[in-house]
Symmetry: C2
């Protein structure tokens, strides 16, 4: 019987590709083994468990997303950088739905590698928002991340009722962020709600 020539990286890469096709939540050891032309238990020579596979895909996805975002924003600053970042984020999520779902997982406490790639990806956003001169850029980053994640999640899950004009909606989302964060930068934040 010939060897399949697998290694952990190949298994994780194939898992990521399969997750993009069938959904991260539907990923199973059996399906991945079939895809790789191997029996299910053989995968355990390369990944410790389904959970470890998922974690591996997550780390890899965070790396890839980070690299993509970094490439998209390089050489830009201010609103243009935010727009480029946002467009790249949305496109990547749409092109890699399985990886994207994986990339959202919070690192397990104590998982240094996962923590590192997560932080690295977030750092890009901090850099992009630096041009806005926010005093608390943590908050600004969370705002942008929430908005982009929410849109990407709803879009890739088909959560928006009507399929039409999502591009326009996304443009308005980014315009809103840019306008709103710029206004905040200028100190126009003084209108809090009663219960906040």
């Amino acid at each position: 019987m010939p060897r399949a020539g697998l290694d952990p990286a190949a298994v994780i890469a194939a898992g990521a590709a399969l997750a993009d096709e069938i959904g991260f939540a539907n990923l199973s050891m059996g399906l991945l083994a079939e895809r790789l032309g191997v029996r299910t238990p053989s995968l355990y020579k390369h990944v410790a468990s389904l959970e470890a596979l998922r974690r591996g895909i997550a780390v890899q996805a965070k790396r890839e997303l980070g690299a993509t975002l970094s490439r998209a924003a390089v050489g830009l600053s201010g609103p243009a950088a935010v727009r480029a970042f946002a467009d790249a984020y949305r496109r990547w999520a749409l092109d890699h739905p399985g990886r994207y779902a994986a990339s959202i997982r919070a690192p397990e406490p104590g998982d240094e590698e996962d923590l590192r790639v997560s932080t690295d990806a977030l750092q890009i956003l901090y850099d992009v928002l630096a041009g806005f001169g926010h005093s608390r850029s943590v908050d600004a980053a969370r705002v942008v991340r929430s908005a982009l994640h929410g849109f990407a999640a709803l879009e890739s899950a088909g959560g928006f009722g009507l399929p039409d004009d999502l591009d326009d909606s996304f443009t308005l989302l980014v315009d809103t962020l840019v306008t709103g964060l710029s206004a905040d930068e200028r100190g126009v934040t003084g209108n809090r709600a009663g219960q906040a």
Copy 2:
């Protein structure tokens, strides 16, 4: 052997409560049966399948969320309505993580009841945003929904690295939405990115 006195509504309600405790994705027929003091197969007298249980929880969750949001925004308009809506949304998601995860599921095509409760909940947001006089309120609703869902999803999944000051971040998010959408209302939308 005494009867447990279950019916579909009781099973779904217990399922929703259990999902809030252990996570919507971890919900299983076995755990729910144990919770209800009954053997697993007995649940099938009340719900057709695990998938049907999930769908039932989703529909119920959408109803509850809709009612909560409606109550929060009643009597308010403009920015105050948006802030109240946003706060109620966040709080409900935080208080009912399992239900919230369920509420995000898009209705299956042809599921009229699910479609109806989904549309009803969305309608509240349209009403809240009506005060902003947007020409395309579909887009405005998507912007707000994306932002709120993104924040709620990241918060309830522990997706934000640092646990501190999430209240401040959320306030900035809502401020950004209100400011940005108000600016857009005044026609300040003319700054599109090159690739949009």
